[in-house]
């Protein structure tokens, strides 16, 4: 038996009658960063939404930490150790920075533990600490991404599902976020399933890359290999 943190086998899912994902297989080891790449409409976001239960799977198996996730409700995922930063970040713009962050730890019964996790996130993102009372809609794009990321980290996940963190951000900010992910992985053993359009920066930190096309996995390989194989890059990644 492998010791994979997340094992996806033959996953099929979609909205209504038409399936978006066909027979998707992938694994994420503890502390591993796996980049999910592919064109618009390839099913990357749907993959993450299916893993966290927002989209119902129609076939296949998802095993997280040895537990089959079928039938697990969305609300339970965070308790299992899966954090999902959705497409568009999902900052609740009507709430303050502090409220958004506290929301990430509300599921914990242990209040002291939640407080500790919150303080750690504030330490990790000093700009958020300076803007505790700002409403979500007052933040810049980069700050919102920090907030969304920080909010997921307050839950101390073992696996982070991260949907397009670089979208709409300046390259410099994107670089900061990628560096942060690498750092977190090293310090805490956080595993990340990273959906990205920005292939270069995703592959720069990923251990492994999975390329989706029309809902199927077409390539699964080491990130370094993907980076170096010009033919693969041209065929699927467009650079």
């Amino acid at each position: 038996m492998s010791s994979a943190l997340l094992e996806v086998e033959g996953l099929t899912a979609g909205y209504g009658a038409a399936p978006v994902l066909h027979d998707v297989n992938l694994t994420v080891q503890p502390g591993e960063i796996v980049a999910v790449l592919g064109a618009n409409g390839a099913g990357k976001t749907t993959l993450l939404r299916t893993l966290s239960g927002l989209v119902r799977s129609t076939g296949g198996k998802v095993v997280f930490d040895g537990v089959d996730l079928r039938g697990t409700r969305v609300e339970q995922m965070v308790r299992r150790g899966i954090g999902h930063v959705p497409e568009g970040r999902g900052v609740v713009t009507e709430l303050t920075v502090d409220e958004n962050l506290r929301l990430g730890g509300l599921w914990r019964k242990d209040r002291a533990e939640a407080k500790k996790a919150l303080d750690e996130v504030y330490e990790l993102f000093p700009p958020l600490a300076q803007r505790r009372t700002f409403a979500g809609h007052q933040l810049s794009g980069g700050e919102r991404q920090m907030l969304a990321l920080g909010r997921a980290l307050v839950g101390r996940p073992r696996l982070l599902l991260l949907d397009e963190p670089s979208l709409g951000l300046a390259p410099k900010v994107t670089g900061q976020i990628m560096a942060l992910l690498r750092d977190l992985r090293e310090r805490t053993g956080l595993a990340v399933l990273l959906v990205e359009q920005n292939v270069r920066s995703a592959l720069s930190i990923a251990d492994e890359g999975v390329v989706l096309a029309l809902g199927r996995v077409v390539v699964r390989n080491k990130a370094a290999t993907l980076r170096d194989d010009a033919d693969l890059r041209h065929a699927y990644l467009g650079f």
């Binding site: 927002l54 995922m77 999902h84 609740v92 409220e99 506290r102 929301l103 990430g104 509300l106 599921w107």
Partner: protein
């Protein structure tokens, strides 16, 4: 001048009740994007239960508690059994279903209690005591202010200071994100309906002794006033609902006092039309026309 002072206090007392009722509408609107047209009927049902309990036990306060509990139970039932299954793709669906509930509740009440006006006594004297020769407030008015004030304060604390309040707000603003963060959005929705219906029941308990009496349709006109109050305040804003309630209360009181009591409902209708056409987002908003 004396009359003006009296009418002002009278209006504020009425307005406090409308504020509570409008607050109930706003609570559900924020949580579920439904204007609960069955709020009035639900509140009347709660007051009928209170009437039975008070008659059986002789205690107003037992009846009062029974009304609030009935409100909570009704709120949960309506959300869990009916509203949860409404197709929300058109806002008309929720409205029509709520109207169906109005018919059911009013019919059931009529079957059990009959369609005669039942007299309901106020727990405190409604005679105004005088201040410097001017009739100002009655004990009952004070009771209304205290009760509504307590509800407003409790709700404010709940929403701004407690984890449950934070969950409720998050669930209303961003349901999917909240679920990902472990918030039971369905549970928060049910809680919202329960709270709103309980507040509505309180408003019903407060207003019925000041009206003709208890009747299955007793809250129809009150509902219109409260709806107007909520719209004046902007449907989304609890503070707006309170201010709107007081405005409507004062308007009703002045029109009844200076013009004619029978004209008062028309004044409310006029205010509703003016606000809807002039500032459809409510007096405190800067947004444009309401389309949902």
């Amino acid at each position: 001048m004396n009359e003006f002072i009296y009418l002002t206090f009278d209006g504020l007392s009425r307005g406090a009740v409308y504020a509570a009722f409008a607050l109930a509408l706003v609570l559900i609107w924020r949580a579920a994007r439904i204007v609960n047209f069955a709020q009035g009927a639900m509140a009347v049902a709660a007051v009928y239960v209170a009437y039975s309990v008070t008659n059986a036990t002789g205690s107003y306060w037992l009846g009062f508690v029974a009304a609030i509990v009935t409100g909570l139970v009704l709120g949960v039932t309506v959300e869990r059994v009916v509203m949860r299954f409404v197709d929300h793709s058109s806002p008309l669906n929720g409205v029509v279903v709520a109207l169906g509930l109005v018919l059911v509740i009013q019919g059931v009440l009529g079957i059990f209690y009959g369609n005669e006006f039942l007299p309901v006594a106020a727990p405190f004297s409604r005679d105004a005591f005088e201040l410097g020769g001017v009739a100002v407030l009655s004990r009952y008015d004070l009771f209304v202010f205290v009760a509504v004030g307590a509800v407003v304060a409790a709700l404010t604390l709940l929403f701004t200071r407690t984890p449950v309040g934070l969950r409720m707000r998050a669930a209303a603003f961003a349901p999917d994100v909240s679920r990902l963060l472990g918030v039971s959005v369905g549970g928060m929705l049910t809680l919202g309906w329960a709270l709103a219906a309980a507040v509505g029941s309180l408003a019903g308990m407060l207003v019925v002794p000041t009206e003709l009496g208890l009747h299955p349709t007793a809250m129809d006109v009150v509902f219109i006033s409260a709806f107007t109050a909520a719209v004046v305040g902007g449907l989304d804003s609890p503070i707006g609902a309170v201010v709107g309630g007081l405005i409507v209360g004062l308007l009703l009181s002045y029109v009844s006092g200076y013009v004619e009591p029978t004209v008062a409902p028309m004044a409310v209708l006029l205010l509703l039309v003016v606000v809807l056409l002039g500032k459809p987002g409510g007096l405190f908003s800067s947004s444009k026309a309401r389309v949902a």
